[in-house]
């Protein structure tokens, strides 16, 4: 599906937003804060998180404690990584080494068309 607004397509706008460095940083930090907020209660009360996990009956009881401790801290570490911008992968291809590996399909599909947009957003 393609919505055209003159020479600018919806796709080009979305792609422009996707490579907008300030926007990506804001969204990344917001997501990191969500992760850290979600991990707080689990880190402070790991025993109660283990109870909740036991009630899901997915894991054998023997490993529930370890899994609940690990998951709570994994959430916290991922949040810190997102905010600090270290070990961040995937959606941040715009300004990373090997970024061309992630970016090339869009470049190939629309060479030049959103080069101007990229100038605006970068």
């Amino acid at each position: 599906m393609r919505i055209k607004l003159g020479r600018i397509s919806l796709r080009s706008i979305l792609q422009g937003l996707g490579t907008s460095r300030p926007l990506l940083i804001i969204l990344r930090i917001a997501l990191g804060l969500v992760f850290i907020y979600a991990s707080l209660d689990k880190v402070v009360h790991p025993d109660q998180f283990a109870e909740i996990m036991q009630d899901y009956e997915i894991l054998p009881n023997a490993v529930v404690n370890l899994a609940s401790l690990w998951l709570a801290w994994l959430e916290a570490v991922l949040g810190v990584c997102l905010i600090a911008g270290v070990w961040v992968s995937g959606g941040t291809y715009g300004y990373r080494p090997y970024g061309h590996l992630y970016r090339w399909p869009f470049d190939r599909l629309h060479p030049g068309r959103w080069a101007t947009l990229r100038l605006l957003f970068h």
Partner: protein, 170 residues
């Protein structure tokens, strides 16, 4: 192609790094945490550390009958409230696991910390009594006894039960 393989390897290395870092942090934090959960649950149930288990006394239904007849002991039903209203052990009061935080302030006002408590829950594999007991121990209660296999064992031993006055079948 070669750069792609390197990029993928770098991603995997990152994932492994984050996994190892968080696991190390989790284990280190757990040793300093007052709960200090055992990493592998070998006895009891998840979320209830061994030092809490050691502070519980356990009784069978006959032993519990002696406590129920002792007016000094407070009997606590940790099951959900509709089940409590339907049928419960004589003299029991309801302090359900689901809703503990709402009910606890009222409970703490009326029950002193050194009061002997007998807790019970549904039965086989039921951990609600241990979960409520753990919360009571962290709040400062000291004399806790748990009825082994809960109200199921009590019923199996043909001991008396009570129904709340306000209970009706509808």
């Amino acid at each position: 192609m070669k750069t792609l393989v390197i990029a993928i390897l770098r991603e995997l290395l990152r994932i492994a790094g984050i996994a190892v870092a968080s696991l190390t942090l989790a284990i280190a934090a757990n040793t300093m945490h007052p709960m200090n959960l055992p990493l592998l649950v070998t006895k009891g149930q998840p979320g209830v550390p061994n030092w809490v288990l050691e502070r519980f006394k356990e009784v069978d239904p006959q032993g519990a009958m002696g406590l129920v007849n002792n007016p000094e002991v407070l009997v606590i039903d940790t099951r959900d409230e509709p089940d409590f209203r339907k049928q419960h052990i004589p003299r029991a009061v309801s302090l359900p696991y689901h809703g503990f935080n709402q009910r606890y302030p009222q409970f703490a006002e009326s029950v002193s910390k050194d009061k002997p408590l007998l807790l019970y829950c549904y039965g086989t594999d039921c951990g609600l009594a241990a979960r409520v007991g753990k919360r009571l121990i962290t709040k400062g209660y000291t004399e806790l006894t748990i009825l082994r296999r809960g109200i199921e064992a009590w019923k199996a031993a043909n001991l008396p039960l009570e129904t709340s006055e306000e209970y009706n079948e509808n």
